[in-house]
Amino acid sequence: MFPVKPMKPTFKCYLPPVQTDVKKTIDPPIKKLEPKLLPGEIVVNEANFVRKCISSESSQDDLWGKLICTNFKVSFILQDVPSKQKPPMSHLLLGEHDIPLTCLEQVVTVNDTKGKKKVLGSNQKLKFNPTELILYCKDLRIIRFCFGEAGPESAKKVCLAIAHYSHPADLHLLFGFEYQGRRYHESKEERVNGSASRGGFQTPIFDRPSDWDREIKRTGASEWRVCSINESYAISSSLPEFIVVPVPLADQDLKRYSVYFTGHRIPLWCWNHSNGSALVRMASINDPLQQRKIEQRVFTAITKSHPQRSEVHKFELDKSLPNIQDIQTAFVKVRHISVIDPFEESEERWLTSVENSRWLEHVRAFLKQSAEIVYCLDGKNVSVILQEEEDRDLNCVVSSLVQLMLDPQYRSLAGFQSLVQKEWVMAGHRFLDRCNHLKKNEKEESPLFILFLDCVWQMMNQYPAAFEFTDAYLTVLSDSMWIPLFSTFLFNSPKQRTQHLMDFAKNKAIPPGEDQVVFFPPVWDWSQQFSTKDQTLFNNPTYIGKGAACVQNGEVKTFTRTKQKSYSSTMRGTASSMRNGVKERGEEALVRRSSLVSELKPDFSPVKDESPSERFFRDWFSQPADQQGLLIPLLMPSHVALWKLFFLRWVPEACIPKGGPITAYHKISQLVDEIEILQSQLRRYKGPSPGNTPLPSQREPPLTQRRMYFKATSPTPPDYLSSSFPFTPVGNLCRRSVYGTPISKFLNGARTWLSTETLANDAV
């Protein structure tokens, strides 16, 4: 366990202690250390007497055990069963010291005495005996093992095995294809009842016309229809089988036009505003001769599908947003400064480093672009087409962000999952390539989905009551990308998924007609990974849900949205002639009085005219935010922050013991839990037969019905709460030793960055 008060010891304790007692601990009684294996999982190689490094400064906390490579994960089995507490959130499929092979970014072997280092790939040779193995993980962990006492040969073998098995030659070699087959057959009996109803989870998959129909109805998009020309992927291999198109466009025309679109990706309906404006995405038209004509047809059809026949605005995202390589580069940089750079050394230029990574700039660019589109749909009441060369990357981010801002449905847990399913999975985002699960082509790798999650986090950070799910949920979702057991993140397109899963079903003797959601579930079935209790960490206690009620003066009031529909009048410019006239004179005057310029200048820079969209945003910001209405993130650079839980959760130096937003979450959760207890009491009072007296003993609802992780009955915050909660940095981030500990360093390191003017004045 991470020390509760790392500041507690005197500063002497931060000095690396002399390694005297190492020998004592390495004469362990031979114990059989068995890994916990999943169905279909086999041990490939293993090494005994391996040391897992906990801290980069000293080895006194290091753990001894056995390092195992299986066809699914790298596992570390402790020699001594630890007496300490379990981590707050425990994964059902992975132990505390396990790393899925797909989560490995880089496998590095080191020989300290020879001063050698090698990054291992598949089928490689290693000319030295490794003394150390460093695993850089895609979830930003850095895990270090020392082989000092392990046999040199077995150390080498296990390293090579890890490197080899983390580079699968083919998609179907990913462990999910083994595991899900076994799991399907082993758990068949339990499923007897539920298999028809998709295992009981609510997230629509959008692989059936009915899912789309429901969306059309829900958003009131009456001039749009489900079209099945792509059934069996007849038109496009990356589009879903069922898509939604404007009613005025006939199947015939669509088929005809499709050949001119990149990847045959014809315009695809995403969402409808209640004012009738539609959000549509499409690929670019590759034949310049046809471009105008086809665009014209498409635009006309969309205009006709608008109740006010309002025009269509096209956004070419390739031109306005960073490309996937830019995003990958930024991510690599921000990851580097967050976890790889030594903490204290990077402290001095931290802000500039964050800026130079450009990650936040990109996050902001996507949010800003999305907000502009929101302005068109909501403020200008025009339909919007998102166009991107392939319509499979930037469009996914922007279309889902726009919907998240406009439609509160998507801010619920189930709604958010359906959004990802609709705009990412079914829309053909190349998860396989972008995640680079097969480590084949680094050029295709790009963390677009993480960028999207970061954007969602920015909004959540600004509007904490608007989302049903938490920061921890987004983080866990990002981690799930690196566990190859769920159908969600394994494929490049719906077609690829269908084909692979058909082959899989055939090979695993799964009866034809069985639902793929049942035999190869998506990540949305969270019970695969977490207990019901741990899943409550996804629930945001401050969420104001749909039809949210608030008790006021004894009445239950429903939040209603009072929408300010005065855009037309607010967008009217103020008398600009007067303003401009005065402004000009003001500038002249300024030039003459240069003495004032230095201090007054910022204020008197020319008064800029607000653009209509700026006016729209300012108007919106001047109103109270309706958590169940339109939500626009603050777009000033000062309001886009680094997603600390995601980037810094493993960094021990950045962990605030007994602090961080979680302490507020704890307090609110308890209150909400109390409310839920009261509500369930009320329900019992007015139970089915009103005459019944409730049993006084049943004061609390069963635990399964309680949505809060922290219960009302635990008033004091637990000691293990920290800003990294529910994750723990212990053993998950061990950089190669850079001596001198963070705290001692910055406390002793006298740094003067300022001029001599300082000195002269100090005597004052």
Partner: protein
Amino acid sequence: MEKSGSIDSLGSKRSSSRQPSVDSLSSTSTSRSDRSAQAKPPSAMSSDSMSTSAEFSPELRVKPKTAVKQVLRDSEKEEPQLLPNETVQDMAQDITYFCPFTGAVRGTVMVTNYRLFFKSTDREPAFVLDLPLGVVSRVEKIGGASSRGDVSYGLVCKDMRNLRFAHKQMEDTLRKSIFEVLIKFAFPVSNGLQIFAFEYGQVFPENGWKVYDAISEYKRQGIPNESWRITKINDHYELCDTYPSTLAVPVNIPDEELRRVAAFRAKGRIPVLSWIHPESQATVTRCSQPMVGVNGKRSKEDEKYLQAIMDANAQSHKLFIFDVRPCVNAAANKKNGGGYESEDAYQNAELVFLDIHNIHVMRESLRKLKDVVYPNIEDSHWLSNLESTHWLEHIKLILAGALRIADKVESGKTSVVVHCSDGWDRTAQLTSLAMLMLDSHYRTIRGFEVLLEKEWLSFGHRFQLRIGHGDKNHTDADRSPVFIQFVDCVWQLTRQFPAAFEFNEYFLVTILDHLYSCLFGTFLCNSEQQRLKEEIPKRTVSLWSYINSQLEDFTNPLYVNYSNHVLFPVVSLRHLELWVGYYIRWNPRMRPQEPVHQRYKELLAKRAELQKRVDELQREVTNRSASSSERAGSPTRSITPVQTFV
């Protein structure tokens, strides 16, 4: 006294648009509206726009309905509700205000002996600007009469904004511009007038001047005890005129020796007790630099005195002397007779420099920060621009220093002596922050007020000089945002420990607003002695009177009273943030981040309501079961279902 509706004037800075969320609040608001009706919150400052930028903090949104209604009515009126004894000095029509965010606005200006009030005539809803003259740092006439006959005035404000107005050249050359009138009342001290705090006679239910009593605060800490005593040697400020009259010193140093120690410490500011650890008896003591000089002068008495401080703590045989300055600066002070303790002279003492820069560096840093955040934030290079101001870096060093002190006292059980040059700027920052980390009492609202009264006001932080109340000399090198910086550090702590403080962000912003407003006497003068001489407590109202009369506005609902919980913040730029709710609040494109506090209050109201119903039903059931023997099976009164909000 006339009960003028200062609620209204406060209201004008609140946007009426917050109403829906106000509505969502229930019974709590009702009770408060009563209280605020009598308490009459004075207007602090007003917004730069009609929008929400007006709001200093999210908590403001939680307002009693009545107040909101008054605002609505109010904005239709021509002028603000004046405070008691506030008088209109001048009014002018056809003034243009150049809003850096939304363009030029035309309207009327009113200047009183307390505020400037601008109200637009060409916008709907009206744009209102209501600022206390105390925030004005300087007024400059920009340019002479131009061909078009306009005169322009720029107001540089202490609270991170600049305002610019223009009006037609006066036809009548004898008539003064309203801004000339403003200058007179913005700088009363320079114009032989009285600061408005002396005229404002508002009566509040609570008397804030009673918040701090040195003797009872020492008593709370267990002083006097076997090692520390209270001395009356400074009763008439003869030992040290910038120290409080009540001092706590080691028991075995007689008053006579204190005088000799005083001779060796700059301005006579001898080491005295600030805080004592309730268990280990390790202490935080504060003083000024020793007068070592270039020749390395020593003082037996001073050495003995520090030894006595160390001996008062049986747990440790060491004493840490934290010289808050950078080492080079401390050495440079030798030329002026000052310097630092040599470890040769002070046995068992270890000297540590904390590298915090002086008031001039801090002033420059904040000036740069203002350039970066006001009026607009550049889209690119925000973080590097922010870094180049060094503001957060300074915040970090101050917090790091306080953390070291807290750690020494809590974990090392060692006593510490803290000083800078004079011991009234950086020393106050460091001791008060360390005490805030160590002692949860100071994290309550009243405790924090005590902390400010004690470590800042009574120990002579020179507020008058550092802020320059009512003084037109804006280039005065003695001005410095030392106190703002401290409040910023406190805000950083509240960010890292959102449940550890009883007060909210609005509390901190309010303190800073009234640091400048000159409405209350709290931050006037430079020392306890001066305050006594000016009869400040008699002649002015304390800021704590206002705050403590409506505590709910300033309370953090998430507060958990962890007893004996020492806060060890992570002092890293990864966790330090720019306080946007203060520095960028004038920007209408910034909305106070949606607070969970508000939501928590709603949930509290909901719980109360549910509890009430459950109790009612329980009673009903009990009654029924009592009578059920007679009439079995009578239907219960139907109950409206409480909707779940999820």
